[in-house]
């Protein structure tokens, strides 16, 4: 299973980013192989509007099964859930910490967007 973690940097020791659409990186962790991969989110960070939509598309294209982040707005939530990507919420300090929480099944699944749309 491939899980994406929102991160402010490109390593496991980086700060976990509680934002989704404008997180600088996604660290993709594979629970079967224990391997991690870094996915940049520059387009999302720089987009004028719809950062959440573009970030969600990136995860759909990367074929991840789940996302761990701090918040998720309505458009991103729609794209992710339509594509069967589960959204877990965490307020970990580092990506490593968030991965541990995920592995120990300490995270709850978001059943609805945690924020209103930023386009309003």
């Amino acid at each position: 299973m491939k899980v994406a973690f929102t991160s402010q940097g490109n390593s496991l020791d980086s700060q976990f980013d509680e934002r989704f659409g404008r997180a600088m990186y996604f660290i993709i962790y594979d629970t079967d192989t224990n391997e991690t991969k870094v996915l940049e989110n520059m387009a999302g960070v720089e987009s004028a509007h719809g950062a959440g939509i573009s970030a969600a598309k990136k995860l759909v294209d990367a074929k991840v099964d789940a996302l761990v982040t701090g918040n998720c707005g309505p458009n991103a939530f729609y794209v992710l859930s339509e594509n069967n990507i589960k959204i877990y919420l965490s307020n970990a300090k580092t990506v490593k910490e968030a991965i541990e929480e995920f592995k120990n099944k300490k995270l709850e699944i978001a059943s609805s967007p945690t924020k209103g749309g930023h386009w309003r």
Binding site: I53, K57, W119, R120
Partner: protein, 284 residues
């Protein structure tokens, strides 16, 4: 001639000035058009007790995809800077709130699978009160894009008579859309640090747009003299000063017009119109 009443900061008295000016002007001219472009919260109609004569729905054009023609090439998704149309596993999905109606996706779509359809964003209400035509934009709740609606309201500017625009607060796109074609701007502020800060931003915008403008200071006496000092230093005329008068606040909160109830203020508003008329005629 079009005068726009703007302010960097909300709650400084734009509507008070716009509605009172409209009433003074209606005594002088055959007809006055007041355009309420504060479309998220238009409230000129509370003070201009007009009769509603008409309403009109305002739509924007948003893309719709004919899936039977779509080749899943992703060109629309790559083109859209606002992520309003996104290819998910090849299939384009439209996020209508994000769409700026540029029509680009319909142009880049080779198989012509995208066409535009109407999407309602709000209403225009038309009121008539004596010689005042009040034209009010009212954005639908949940609709995020006010500039197209403001543009539609401005479409009813009258060529031959005086137009007064009640602009939205701030200095972003909706304000620019409301004031960009005006002949003259009145920037409303209050004598406080917040008032001054936001006035400076509004002045920068007015200068960038090459507009003739002056400042109206509301609640004079309630704060300090920093706005006065700034205007003097920057050589900006102060066209109107409204004192911090409790009776004005009471009238406003009851939806009443100042100059009908406190006639001593009438002269100030008449002078404003005169001064603006002179400035515009002399092209200064």
């Amino acid at each position: 001639m079009t005068i726009a009443i703007a302010s960097g900061k909300g709650g400084t008295g734009k509507t008070t000035i716009a509605t009172n000016l409209a009433i003074v002007a209606s005594e002088k001219y055959d007809s006055v058009t007041l355009l309420d472009c504060d479309v998220e919260e238009p409230n000129s109609h509370i003070f201009i007790n007009g009769k509603k004569i008409k309403e009109e729905v305002v739509n924007v054009r948003i893309p719709e995809v004919d899936e039977s023609l779509c080749t899943e090439c992703g060109a629309c998704s790559n083109f859209c800077q606002y992520n309003a149309i996104v290819s998910l596993k090849g299939k384009p999905v439209v996020f209508k709130e994000m769409c700026h109606s540029c029509g680009g996706c319909t142009l880049v779509c080779q198989p012509k699978a995208i066409h535009e359809v109407d999407h309602r964003i709000g209403l225009i209400n038309f009121y008539k009160s004596g010689k005042i035509n009040l034209i009010e934009g009212l954005l639908d709740i949940g609709s995020p894009l006010s500039p197209p609606l403001i543009g539609a309201v401005k479409g009813y500017e009258s060529k031959d008579t005086l137009n007064i625009i009640d602009a939205p607060p701030g200095t972003s796109c909706p304000v620019i859309e409301a004031i960009r074609d005006a002949d003259y701007l009145i920037l409303v502020t209050e004598p406080t640090p917040f008032g001054l800060n936001d006035l400076i931003l509004a002045v920068e915008v007015s200068r960038k747009l090459n507009k003739k403008f002056s400042v109206a200071i509301n609640r004079v006496g309630s704060g300090d003299d920093r706005v006065h000092k700034y205007c003097k230093k920057e050589n900006i005329p102060i066209i109107l000063e409204i004192p911090d008068d409790r009776r004005i606040a009471e009238l406003y909160s009851n939806g009443k017009i100042i100059l009908e109830n406190l006639p001593e203020y009438k002269k100030c508003f008449e002078e404003v119109l005169e001064k603006i008329g002179t400035v515009i005629q002399n092209g200064q």
